[in-house]
């Protein structure tokens, strides 16, 4: 068997088809570039492949999906924290690595929470002395956030005007959906406590937009939307790219490494066809890695040559370093006021209609950075785990059986709310991934070994989340479920990677000694190599990162298009 080398030289090869890859593909094909996109998983389109409107009772497991479908058997995302034949290892601390393996990647998984970073989020070191500032500012990204809002379609409101919080920039929004009953009840309590509750910002259409119909409010965005009324790379970014006739998608193509010429420039990407196990090399004048933060770092570290013995774009040694995830924990509460509530269809959009942006003043708190709160509750579709642990429910009979128990299950349905905190980890050099010297995946590609721990900054933030969520539940007249975990359990903080917001492993910066990429996400060492995923992030924020991945990818793609026009690339 020989390596199959593509005779054609593409203008651009993009590795990955998710938020970053899809955005770059659209911008560059529309700018006239001939683009090839490699995707490690199969083709998939929610218009034909989603399980929308299936009932849990149509599944013999009632929706339970096992290890390979951690978010349920009907979840739209193919992949998970454990993938057969694709191991990773952990050195120091703990880490879990969720990978999407399908066209569109993890845009099928995410909650469509579409939050711009604010001005402060690009200059945290200047504010609190920790981590580093970005080489760009909010003003550099604002035009791209605006274009995203307009092109993709997103509902929301002007939070800064409603709350006075200066780090919550405005955007271009469709009207938000009316709040659900439990969300209004949470807001009522939070209003008394001085905690702002505002309409969420989700990339789900509440009005028809660019040929896509408005949401039909089944609450099943996570299964993939059969009408393309929410955002995924496949439903929004790839169709216009394909319509140019200049995008070639190669599915089931697992990238092995970036190939390099004698001049030190990238010449393309080698990959394995996961169906035939045939090795291929695709050639391109420009390579854009959008394989996800850690996967892009892995590709660079595995692209070793005599010219680049530490891996590609890694003369600084920072590739893999400064790896972060969002902090995260959840608290559930039983709310007596919600018991015996008349039933209504509370499905709504596939996410919260109200949420809580970060409101704290760090000068008055014992920790830096912040978090936002995602709200849950309502009458969900009954499925696997329904009524679990009823013997522990507050004000219940404490277990039992028979007619009285049956009635109790009915009364507790819809009587719970949940609060999920998602916050900023301060980036540190000693949180990192590297190539494990001993382990390869089933294609022979060396795998990542992770080192990740939380610091006191994150632990104290988690403590604040716990205390706040419990206080809100009590203010609502309810009872938190479960005791508050103590410092020995990191106050309930999820292990790194569980929140699926990895960022920073291929960070950008102005100094080639301390960063891998310049301010255009272009490798300092290899000028025809770019990264367009969470990798370039210098820091996280108290806001989820996908909207910033896409704005940054859009900006990177426009820079590439401009350089091509100028003949510089």
């Amino acid at each position: 068997m020989q390596i199959i080398r593509s005779p054609k030289v593409y203008d651009v090869c993009i590795v990955g088809s998710g938020a970053g890859g899809g955005t770059v593909a659209r911008v560059l094909t529309e700018a006239g570039a001939d683009v090839v996109m490699l995707e490690g998983g199969p083709m998939w389109d929610s218009a034909t492949d989603s399980a929308m409107f299936a009932w849990n009772y149509e599944s013999p497991t009632r929706g339970w999906g096992g290890d390979l479908k951690p978010f349920g058997v009907y979840d739209g995302c193919l992949g998970g924290w454990d993938i057969e034949g694709e191991p990773y290892t952990v050195g120091t601390g703990a880490w879990r690595w969720f990978r999407g393996r399908m066209l569109g990647g993890r845009t099928h998984h995410w909650g469509r929470i579409s939050l711009r970073f604010g001005p402060d989020d690009f200059r945290r070191k200047s504010i609190d002395g920790l981590g580093d500032d970005w080489p760009i500012s909010y003003d550099d990204l604002k035009p791209y956030y605006d274009r995203l809002d307009e092109f993709v379609g997103i509902f929301g409101t002007n939070h800064a005007r409603e709350t006075g919080l200066h780090n919550e920039p405005d955007g271009i929004f469709m009207p938000p959906p009316a709040p659900r009953a439990h969300e209004l009840l949470i807001k009522k309590a939070c209003d008394r406590m001085g905690i702002p509750v505002v309409p969420a910002r989700l990339s789900i259409l509440t009005r028809p937009h660019n040929g896509r119909p408005a949401c039909h409010y089944c609450g099943q965005c996570g299964r993939g939307c059969s009408t393309h009324s929410n955002f995924s790379s496949v439903s929004v970014m790839l169709p216009p790219a394909l319509a140019t006739g200049r995008l070639t998608i190669v599915a089931n193509a697992m990238a092995r490494e970036v190939t390099v010429g004698a001049d030190g420039l990238a010449t393309g990407v080698s990959y394995i066809d996961t169906g035939s196990l045939q090795e291929h090399q695709v050639r391109a004048r420009i390579v854009v890695l959008a394989a996800s933060c850690c996967e892009s770092a892995r590709l660079l570290l595995n692209s070793k040559s005599t010219l680049f013995p530490n891996g590609l774009a890694n003369s600084s040694g920072v590739v893999g370093r400064y790896l972060t995830d969002s902090t995260g924990l959840s608290v559930r509460g039983f709310i007596p006021a919600l018991q015996d509530l008349p039933r209504y269809n509370s499905d709504g959009t596939g996410g919260m209609h109200l949420y809580v942006p970060w409101w704290g003043d760090n000068k008055a708190l014992g920790f830096p950075r912040g978090y936002h709160i995602e709200l849950g509750g309502g009458f969900g579709m009954p499925g696997y785990g329904f009524g679990s642990g009823i013997e522990t429910y507050p004000q219940s009979q404490g277990g039992g059986y028979g007619v009285a128990l049956k009635e109790e299950y009915r009364r507790y349905y819809g009587a719970f709310v949940s609060f999920a905190g998602r916050g900023e980890q301060v980036a540190r050099e000693d949180c990192y991934c590297e190539i494990d010297p001993d382990v390869v995946d089933k294609w022979g590609i060396p795998v990542l070994r992770f080192h990740h721990t939380w610091s006191e900054h994150e632990r104290l933030q988690a403590k604040h989340m716990q205390e706040t969520f419990r206080a809100i539940i009590e203010e609502m007249g309810g009872t938190p479920i479960g005791d508050m975990p103590g410092p020995e359990q990191d106050y309930g903080l999820a292990a790194g990677g569980v929140i699926i917001h990895e960022a920073g492993a291929v960070r950008m910066g102005n100094d080639p000694k301390t960063s891998a990429l310049n301010r255009y996400c272009q490798a300092h060492d290899v000028r025809n190599l770019f990264v367009a995923d969470g990798g370039p992030f210098v820091s996280q924020a108290d806001k989820n990162l996908t909207w910033t991945i896409m704005a940054l990818a859009w900006r990177t793609a426009e820079y590439i298009a401009e350089e091509r026009r100028n003949g510089d690339l």
């Binding site: 389109d45 497991t61 339970w64 579709m381």
Partner: protein, 193 residues
């Protein structure tokens, strides 16, 4: 991912033959749903984990936990016992706990009444369940029975409430395309909003 887990997952998705190297290819879920609906209509449920005696015990227990009332049928009317057999077969970590718990229940009934649980009179069964169904009130020596019964109660709850019968009983109104205007006035009024 172990080979076992992979096979388990393929079963969950309903792609049976080893020849079909399908895992998550497009259309898998739809094909599975159609196949499943067809299979369910055509054939009675085939036991996967429990022995005949164990299954009989599960059915009696399930209907004591969620009996028929004036609003809906019992756990076994909804097919909850079939779900329990299926999911315990899918989740090896439960198997010894559940099998052992059923054996514990029989041993306890034999000790008290010289009969297995299914052979006991209703009052005798209740006497044992009364000792294990309320964890906070149970005597310490009943701890193994308490653990088992709590897990069984959870399984019965999923089996019943996520069934078509359970969903209708609960009054879940979603899983359909609709317009959205927020909660109805009577809901907001009841909450004082």
């Amino acid at each position: 991912m172990s080979e076992l887990s992979r096979r388990r997952m393929l079963k969950v998705l309903g792609t049976a033959p080893a020849a079909a190297a399908v895992s998550f290819q497009p259309g898998t879920v739809q094909a599975y749903l159609a196949e499943r609906a067809q299979a369910a209509a055509a054939t009675p449920y085939a036991r996967r984990f429990f022995t005949e005696h164990e299954f009989a015990t599960v059915m009696v227990l399930a209907d004591m936990i969620i009996p028929r009332d004036d609003r809906s049928g019992s756990a076994t009317d909804s097919g909850a016992h079939e779900f329990i057999d299926y999911i315990v077969a899918e989740q090896p970590e439960r198997q010894t706990r559940i099998r052992g718990g059923l054996a514990w229940l029989d041993a306890e009934c034999l000790r008290r009444f010289d009969r297995r649980f299914v052979d006991c009179a209703d009052a005798e069964r209740r006497q044992v369940l009364d000792d294990i169904a309320w964890p906070a009130k149970a005597r310490p020596e009943m701890s193994h029975g308490v653990r088992f019964f709590s897990e069984m109660r959870d399984l019965v709850a999923t089996g019943f409430w996520s069934s078509r019968m359970g969903v209708e009983d609960l009054g879940y109104m979603g899983n359909r395309p609709t317009t959205w205007e927020g909660p109805p006035r009577e809901v907001l009024e009841k909450l004082g909003l």
